[in-house]
């Protein structure tokens, strides 16, 4: 069960925190901006679609970086504040609170992607005209939603232990590669592909690229195929996250670990 009221309240709360707490500017704005700038410098002599590919990759990296830092930290912040119990004693499902916060983080990711495009267009003079603007926007929304859901999965682990941050720090960079944001999936080793294919962000990034680049479709999925797989994997991760919240909340209540920080 999800509570829309709790989601909206959590989204608003996260937004207020963003504006009053300058520390979030670093993972949300500065870090992705630097990533993109570095990527664009690396690709600056290639030109054409490859540059646009780099811009798209930078955008997805920015969104992913934002998700892993802000969303997974969502519950960690409550642990630190001592507010986790205050939330859990209310009837609102914790998963709804985390999802609301993840939605705000995803929205920040959208602003971030927009900033990347503007930098590419005006600072590097790259033509960022996309082939199918409507398809691009739909794919962008789907990718953001999928990242919000992925943030929920990570957030759930913080319910049971404060040590989750170590796991997520470890996951950040592999997912940059596995999601195909940095390199095309077809150049990755065979063994890594099942991991890539399980990630909603992979298919979101594919849909974005198909909508943007003429003739890009290395896996032969088509736009709808990539979008459908984004939706399917997002749904699977959503169900997994809801189950995780239920299971891990139960464990935390048995072990008495809600207040440890």
């Amino acid at each position: 069960m999800m509570s829309v009221r709790a989601m909206k309240a959590a989204l608003k709360q996260q937004a207020i925190h963003f504006f009053v707490d300058p520390q979030w500017v670093i993972p949300s704005i500065i870090a992705p901006f630097i990533f993109t700038t570095v990527t664009l410098f690396l690709f600056r002599h290639t030109g054409g679609d490859l540059m646009l590919y780099a811009v798209l990759g930078g955008g997805v990296l920015g969104m992913w970086g934002n998700t892993i830092h802000s969303s997974s930290w969502s519950i960690g912040y409550d642990r630190m504040n001592g507010t986790l119990e205050a939330i859990m004693v209310t009837p609102a499902p914790l998963s709804s609170v985390v999802f609301g916060r993840c939605l705000w983080n995803a929205f920040l990711g959208l602003l971030n992607a927009l900033a990347v495009f503007l930098v590419a267009q005006f600072a590097f003079g790259i033509d960022v005209t996309v082939r199918d603007p409507l398809g691009f926007l739909v794919a962008l929304a789907a990718t953001l939603l999928s990242l919000a859901v992925l943030g929920m999965v990570f957030g759930a682990f913080y319910v049971v232990t404060r040590a989750s941050s170590a796991l997520f720090q470890m996951l950040e960079y592999p997912i940059y590669v596995l999601s195909g944001a940095m390199f095309p999936l077809v150049v990755l080793p065979e063994w890594s592909r099942p991991f890539s294919y399980a990630l909603p962000a992979t298919w979101g990034a594919e849909a974005l690229k198909i909508a943007s680049l003429s003739g890009y479709d290395p896996l032969g999925l088509g736009y709808m195929g990539a979008l459908g797989l984004t939706a399917l994997t997002t749904l699977v991760f959503l169900l997994v996250s809801l189950w995780l919240f239920s299971f891990l909340e139960g464990r935390a209540k048995v072990n008495g670990t809600l207040v440890r920080y």
């Binding site: 709790a6 309240a9 709360q13």
Partner: protein
Amino acid sequence: MSDGEAVIEAEGLTKVYPAAFRLFGDGGREKLAVDNVTFNVRRGEIFGLLGPNGAGKTTTVKMLSTLLIPTSGTATVLGLDVVRDAGKLRSRINLVSGGERGLYFRLTGRQNLEFFSDMYHVPREEKRRRITKLLEIVGLTEAADVRVEEYSRGMKQRLHLARGLVNEPEVLFLDEPTLGLDPEISRETRALIRHLSEEGVTILLTTHYMFEADELCDRLAIISEGRIKALGSPYSMKEAVRNDSIIEVEARELGEAQRRELADLPGVSAVSVEHLEGRQRARIVVANAPALIPTVAAMLESRRVISIRVDQPTLEDAYIKLVNGR
């Protein structure tokens, strides 16, 4: 105090914390925090759980407020099982913990209350009215739009209480509500708790302040090492030491060794030692104080005794006798 129905019923409630998993180092052993606790709280009552640190008070409250799952035993609040019906129960109860944490420090007092009102699905049209009223009750109207990080400790505690009331709970759990507060703020907080009780809220509070339990509680349970040692009204607790008297000794060199020696004297049922600035005060619960004074004086001769006098027993003496006594 109300003689009404029981709204909290704990039956054989037990909590064992499992040993923590650690990748490196020892995770420790499992810990019995609450051991077979049985009590009930009647509607409108202020019921206290009184005990030293680590006695199991907070664990008991957390089980009753759905934050911990009991290892065994059962508990119902407002007729709802705290494990099976936790979802239904939460909208009708609330929990307030003492201390600095438990609030969003970067948000204002009003924003904190708005957030938690939303968590309880307080109707939108009601939310604004209720928050204004709560801020008024706890005396934070002026500071409502100031960030919590700028609040004093007392203001934070009052905001905690307001947060605990956003859903107009029928049962309110207060865990050490005056912990660390200065005397004036503590007095205001106790007045607020009494006011809530008069409004019909059933209150279960934990405390290790004797006078607080004495002043506020209709009934209380003394809990130590996870077990209930005594249960009844503060008056009936004092009755446990009615036939005793107290020898109060102030000296400059009283330690644990002397406390043990005094406790082993015939007729002594409990001894507490309080450490004051540059001196110690021992209270010896004994059946016949005048008869024992010469023995005590002789025993403590070399301990730089300042004074020895006979006193009437208090709730604190009853508590010491029940928790530590023989």
